[in-house]
């Protein structure tokens, strides 16, 4: 498809602006004036509509295709929550910071406060800040809170411990806060072993970051023991909430001993992933960390909701305003829709679907950690690799059959990993059809392994040359 810039015709106009109702101002002096207008496309409104509509058709998405992308929780995005977000679209975020402005933002602040309360109850934490803008931003905020806690206590800490199965964001977030990383290898039963963890501990460890269930989809039965060991060194326990979809109503990280948690509202709470964002990464903490929460902090007073802005122990602002507010309206709407029983059913059905998928496919793909899984299961294509067929090849086969592939090559500790997360919103028929195609892929790997190289064959492009992209660094169109 042509780029929008390649469709540009000099003099063609799109949207018309209102006529000015004030006199024209004097021109800016020449040293401040742009020499040439930016070369934006010159296209009609219909050109714009047709271009982006046709571009959209070159995507697989949850609304058009099964999308079992492990660790991303690609569940159905309820349409009614979109209408809910529209109710707040015209609200300016500085209003509550103006003198007398709080009364113009009681609805918005109340919604954030209410969402915080609901998330605190779901996770067993004492308070939630909704400011972080995405999961990784929440992780960084959480580690900053931990750093502030240690600084206030005069603790000298250098390290953050992560298991080797962790999301890459965990060590990267800790590094953004200046910590060095200690990585713990995964035990044969697929999780971080308390004894291996204890061996790595010292007074210099600030925190341990865990995902539970972890990226293998396994629940670590020793998490309370690990939290206790960490606390005995005055290290804090960080819960990566990426996989919360598995355990709502079953386990609350706060009950188990975790001190800080981030959530991904775009995963567990059904807000759209938007082709890579906006997400939202609220952070929950235990009482000891409340003094360090970001400002402005929303507090409930007799007269209504107010903002605490001058807390000297706070880590400060982590973002411009109050976080990705529109995303939070949708998540709050989702919680209202599902309610207590609905959220429990979500986790039960997500776990049932993943175990069904695992049971049906384990005769065809290696399952390096063969235990009851939670919301996702991780296979290895190692059997197919012996025929020269890799996880990537199987992914391309799936694309041709109309499926968005599972996550591949993650977690890094599984060779040619294929990580499947069906989510609770998929029907059994959809899963059965997907399972059938996965079995076909396994059979083709045996009968005609060479056939995969040409796949996908039905898409607008076949496999793309990534080396060429990295070498040419063409990230901005130079023509027209």
């Amino acid at each position: 498809m042509n780029l929008i810039y390649e469709q540009s015709v000099a003099g063609r106009r799109g949207v018309r602006l209102p006529a000015s109702d004030v006199p024209a101002a004097d021109s800016l002096p020449v040293e401040l004036l742009r020499c040439e207008p930016a070369e934006l496309p010159q296209v009609s409104e219909l050109d714009t509509v047709r271009h982006f509509t046709n571009l959209s058709r070159r995507n697989y998405s949850v609304d058009t295709h099964f999308y079992p992308l492990g660790s991303c929780t690609m569940k159905y995005n309820v349409k009614a929550v979109e209408n809910a977000a529209g109710l707040f679209a015209a609200e300016h975020p500085l209003l509550p910071l103006l003198p007398g402005g709080l009364e113009h933002a009681q609805g918005s602040l109340g919604l954030l406060h209410g969402l915080g309360l609901a998330l605190a109850e779901i996770t067993g934490m004492d308070e939630v800040t909704t400011q972080p803008l995405a999961g990784a931003h929440g992780e960084m905020t959480g580690i900053m809170l931990i750093a502030a806690y240690h600084r206030a206590k005069g603790n000298k800490k250098r390290y953050v411990v992560v298991p080797d199965s962790s999301h890459g964001t965990n060590p990267a977030s800790a590094a953004m806060v200046g910590y060095e990383i200690i990585t713990i290898p995964t035990a044969p039963y697929g999780d971080m072993d308390p004894e291996l963890f204890r061996a790595a501990m010292s007074d210099q460890v600030a925190a341990v970051m865990m995902t539970c269930p972890n990226t293998l989809g396994l629940f670590n039965p020793h998490i309370r023991e690990i939290c206790d060991i960490a606390h005995s060194f005055d290290a804090l326990c960080y819960y990566d909430g990426a996989n919360l979809n598995a355990i709502m109503g079953k386990v609350r990280p706060g009950d188990v001993g975790f001190d800080v948690i981030h959530l991904n509202l775009h995963k567990t709470f059904g807000t759209p992933h938007g082709g890579g964002g906006p997400g939202s990464g609220p952070v929950g903490v235990k009482e000891a960390l409340i003094p360090f929460l970001p400002v402005p902090r929303i507090v409930k007073k007799d007269a209504g909701f107010a903002l605490e802005t001058d807390n000297s122990t706070s880590i400060g602002r982590t973002a411009n305003f109050f976080g990705n507010f529109g995303v939070m309206v949708k998540a709050y709407a989702y919680i209202l829709l599902l309610g207590r029983e609905g959220l429990i059913r979500v986790s039960e059905q997500a776990v049932l679907n993943a175990n069904y998928m695992m049971a049906r496919l384990k005769g065809y793909y290696d399952l390096p950690y063969d235990f009851t899984c939670m919301h996702e299961c991780v296979f290895s294509a190692s059997r197919q690799v012996k025929q020269g067929v890799h996880a990537l090849d199987i992914a391309k086969f799936l694309i041709d059959k109309g499926y968005h592939p599972p996550t591949i090559y993650f977690p890094l500790i599984v060779k040619d990993a294929i990580m499947i997360e069906p989510t609770e919103t998929e029907s059994r028929e959809t899963m059965d059809l997907f399972i059938q195609v996965m079995i076909e892929a396994a059979e083709l790997a045996e009968s005609d392994p060479g056939a995969f190289a040409a796949l996908p064959a039905t898409m607008p492009v076949s496999r793309l040359d990534e080396t060429r992209a990295a070498r040419s660094q063409n990230v901005c169109f130079a023509g027209c």
């Binding site: 498809m1 780029l3 810039y5 602006l17 000015s20 109702d21 006199p23 800016l28 401040l32 742009r34 496309p41 409104e45 982006f52 959209s56 995507n59 697989y60 609304d63 309820v78 707040f88 103006l98 003198p99 609805g107 918005s108 999301h167 990267a172 590094a175 609350r252 992933h273 082709g275 964002g277 906006p278 880590i315 400060g316 602002r317 973002a319 411009n320 990705n324 529109g326 709407a333 919680i335 209202l336 829709l337 599902l338 309610g339 609905g342 059913r345 776990v351 049932l352 679907n353 175990n355 009851t372 029907s427 607008p460 492009v461 076949s462 496999r463 793309l464 992209a469 990295a470 990230v475």
Partner: protein
């Protein structure tokens, strides 16, 4: 009625699936979770239908009270949004997809992001751009970190014209790192060039400025860029994207890294989010750039296609050695930005900027003519300017808010010595009638207390 849970599986299917798994009940699947770890509480209300949910949230939204006419900006702006923006970005194929890890079935998102990167390069005058960051403030913090990596130095000079919110975010980002921050106070709403250049030295990684400044002054940064380069430092600017339709681009001024908040480009104010941060730079800095980058390439048959590229900078590969921990971008918000810029086009974008300046100049003339009121900015402004009132701006704002107008952002809370100052924002959406009304009310307000 039972709650909506959007799970289509019937009880009969659940039984059959359990049989395949070899479990008796769904609860058996949770056996790996020992009983002593089970939730102590899960106290939430019962679910509701979408109609009840919308009624509930309409009630919550109503507590925001009557709409206020905003003459405030400060990082979030009330601009027109053409209808095509939400209609097209609302295509489910865009908004229910995720990060385009599998390029063959994500060419829609990838090509759109490539076109977005191109638009950012063209309005900023930069050579490369990424696929977006979270917001303008975090983008500026990331640009500061990028400059530290690119120069191998540990010192940043931050101009006082940078939004106080962004300055707070930068301080938060750097609080645990061994980096020296030098803040320079503004002069008459603009950059105090002598003070800024005096703060620059040969261990400075970058100067961070905002253009126009938080107080509204538009600056020519050419000489500052030259001075920074003379000391081996970079010049980072946070730019207001709408101003780039009229104001000389950062690229033309010799800037090295440009960031900004993309909300004004087709994203609703929505109480401050979601928005997106943009970042562009000279090509030589691309390997130090944070976040997703889309690149052009081709398939085996020579057909053009787009992929995520230079991923060896990123956390999913480099883990703690990555250029940033950022994992997602603000894909849908950036897409809205692209559709916004496309629908306005080359001429429309310039006209929009001109309209902002015209309205703002008109308001500036009317408001600064009120007895006792003076203009703080000694330099040119775009669509924001700062007034000095004859008394506390806080009281004035509180009074006018009661009449349904937010007349500006008073500076007393962030800068006590500027307690009489008010930053006024006038976008193209403010009508002459609204501006006249503001001038009227402000004049009367200042009169009535016997100034």
């Amino acid at each position: 009625m039972s709650s909506a849970d959007y799970c289509p599986t019937t009880p009969q299917e659940v039984r059959e699936m359990l049989e395949v798994i070899g479990a008796a009940t769904v609860e058996d699947l949770f056996a790996p979770i020992p009983s002593h770890l089970r939730a102590a509480s899960f106290d939430l209300p019962p679910g509701m239908s979408e109609f009840e949910m919308l009624d509930t949230l309409k009630g919550v939204a109503a507590r925001n009270g009557q709409a206020v006419t905003p003459f405030i900006g400060g990082g979030c702006y009330d601009h027109l949004i053409p209808a095509v923006v939400d209609h097209l970005a609302g295509r489910a194929e865009f908004y229910t997809a995720y990060t385009p890890y599998q390029p063959e079935c994500s060419q829609g998102t990838l090509q759109a992001l490539f076109e977005y990167q191109t638009a950012i390069c063209r309005i900023t005058g930069m050579e490369v751009a990424n696929a977006s960051l979270y917001d303008g403030a975090t983008a500026l913090a990331e640009a500061g970190l990028m400059a530290l990596r690119a120069t191998g130095r540990r010192r940043l000079v931050i101009d006082g014209g940078v939004s106080p919110f962004s300055r707070q975010v930068i301080r938060t980002y750097l609080a645990n790192l061994d980096v020296e921050i030098m803040e320079v106070v503004s002069l008459n709403g603009g950059i105090d060039r002598d003070a800024l250049l005096a703060a620059l030295n040969d261990v400075t990684a970058a100067i961070l400025v905002q253009n126009p400044t938080f107080y509204g002054t538009v600056e020519d940064l050419t000489a500052i860029a030259g001075a920074a380069h003379g000391q081996g430092a970079l010049l980072v600017v946070s730019a207001y994207p709408i101003s780039l339709g009229l104001v000389k681009s950062p690229g033309e001024m010799g800037v090295d890294i440009v960031v900004g908040d993309g909300q004004p480009l087709g994203n609703a104010m929505s109480f401050g989010g979601p928005s997106f941060g943009f970042i562009g730079s000279l090509k030589k800095h691309i390997r130090n750039m944070p976040g997703r980058i889309v690149g052009e390439t081709a398939d085996g048959q020579g057909r053009r296609g787009f992929v995520l590229t230079l991923q060896a900078r990123e956390q999913h590969i480099k883990r703690q050695k990555a250029t940033s921990n950022i994992c997602s971008n603000q894909g849908l918000c950036a897409l809205k930005g692209l559709i916004f810029l496309t629908s306005l086009g080359k001429e429309g974008f310039r006209e929009l900027a001109t309209l902002n300046r015209d309205k703002s100049e008109y308001a500036k003339g009317k408001l600064s003519a009120i007895p006792g009121v003076s203009l703080v900015n000694s330099g040119e402004t775009f669509n924001e300017f700062t007034l000095r009132l004859p008394r506390s701006a806080d009281q004035v704002v509180a009074s006018l808010l009661k009449m349904g107008i937010a007349p500006g952002f008073p500076l007393g809370s962030s800068e006590p010595e500027l307690a009489e100052c008010l930053v006024v924002t006038v976008t193209e959406k403010r009508t002459k009638a609204e501006i006249d009304e503001l001038a009227n009310l402000l004049g009367r307000e200042l009169e009535t207390v016997g100034f």
